[in-house]
């Protein structure tokens, strides 16, 4: 007889995967369609911010520690971005760095990056809930028992 996986371990695995890659937790739990949608939407927001701002100052806790904290919602992208950012040369205060964006690009980049990271936090919480409830979304407790049963059937 196949043993049912421990829900706590499943939750932990889904959470870690969702943190590493947007949609990873949902993919692990079998929600392939939702995983693809999350991956595309979150990657688009984060990638757009990174393209507009460039990695040098956008993924750098010394340049903006609050932004970096928000970006940490996506583990893999921020780790890679931070490593690349550290490898780029620093320029003096009177030199114009080709790796640094200025106003208004920095504003747009920061908003996109922060929202990308925070949206993935939402996706992580959803993956944790679905791992706990057997596939139901975050608002499952608001659903009537009939709806909840239908949701489990559609999984």
């Amino acid at each position: 007889m196949k043993q049912k996986p421990d829900p706590a371990i499943r939750m932990f695995q889904a959470g870690i995967l969702a943190w590493i890659l947007p949609g990873g937790g949902h993919f692990f739990l079998g929600h392939r369609g939702l995983a693809a949608v999350l991956f595309v939407a979150i990657t688009f927001a984060y990638g757009t911010g990174l393209a507009i701002g460039g990695v040098k100052n956008s993924v750098n806790p010394r340049a903006n520690r609050w932004l970096f904290l928000a970006e940490l919602g996506i583990g893999s992208y921020t780790t890679v971005g931070y490593m690349v950012s550290n490898r780029l040369p620093d320029y003096g205060p009177k030199e114009l760095s080709p790796y640094v964006a200025f106003y208004p690009e920095t504003d747009v980049a920061q908003i996109y990056l922060a929202i990308g990271g925070l949206l993935n936090l939402l996706a992580i919480l959803d993956a944790l809930t679905r791992a706990q409830t057997g596939g139901l979304p975050v608002f499952y407790h608001e659903m009537t028992p009939t709806d909840a049963a239908r949701g489990e059937g559609e999984k």
Binding site: G53, L122, F139
Partner: protein, 86 residues
């Protein structure tokens, strides 16, 4: 100002910042609102099939809400200018 061919060839995505065209800053709100609507609706969906309609409704709600906030902020700004004699 159009970038030269040499500048374009030397441009590496994510390493060199991407300059935004003039006036694009405001329109950048729309794709971001779409991303927020998609992710929010995904966390409340049971299957991906439910998403398109619900996402569109949420996207419109966000855009209309932001427009109303912008109009309200503009009216407050105009009132302050008018009553302060500016």
């Amino acid at each position: 100002m159009m970038p030269s061919a040499a500048t374009l060839l030397a441009w590496i995505p994510f390493i060199h910042p991407l300059p935004l065209p003039d006036g694009a800053r405001l329109w950048m709100f729309l794709p971001l609102a779409a991303c927020v609507a998609v992710v929010y609706r995904t966390t409340r969906a049971r299957t991906a099939r439910e998403l398109p309609k619900a996402t569109l409704r949420t996207f419109i709600n966000i855009v209309v809400g932001m427009c109303l906030i912008a109009i309200a902020a503009y009216l407050v700004h105009a009132a302050v200018l008018r009553f302060s004699g500016g």
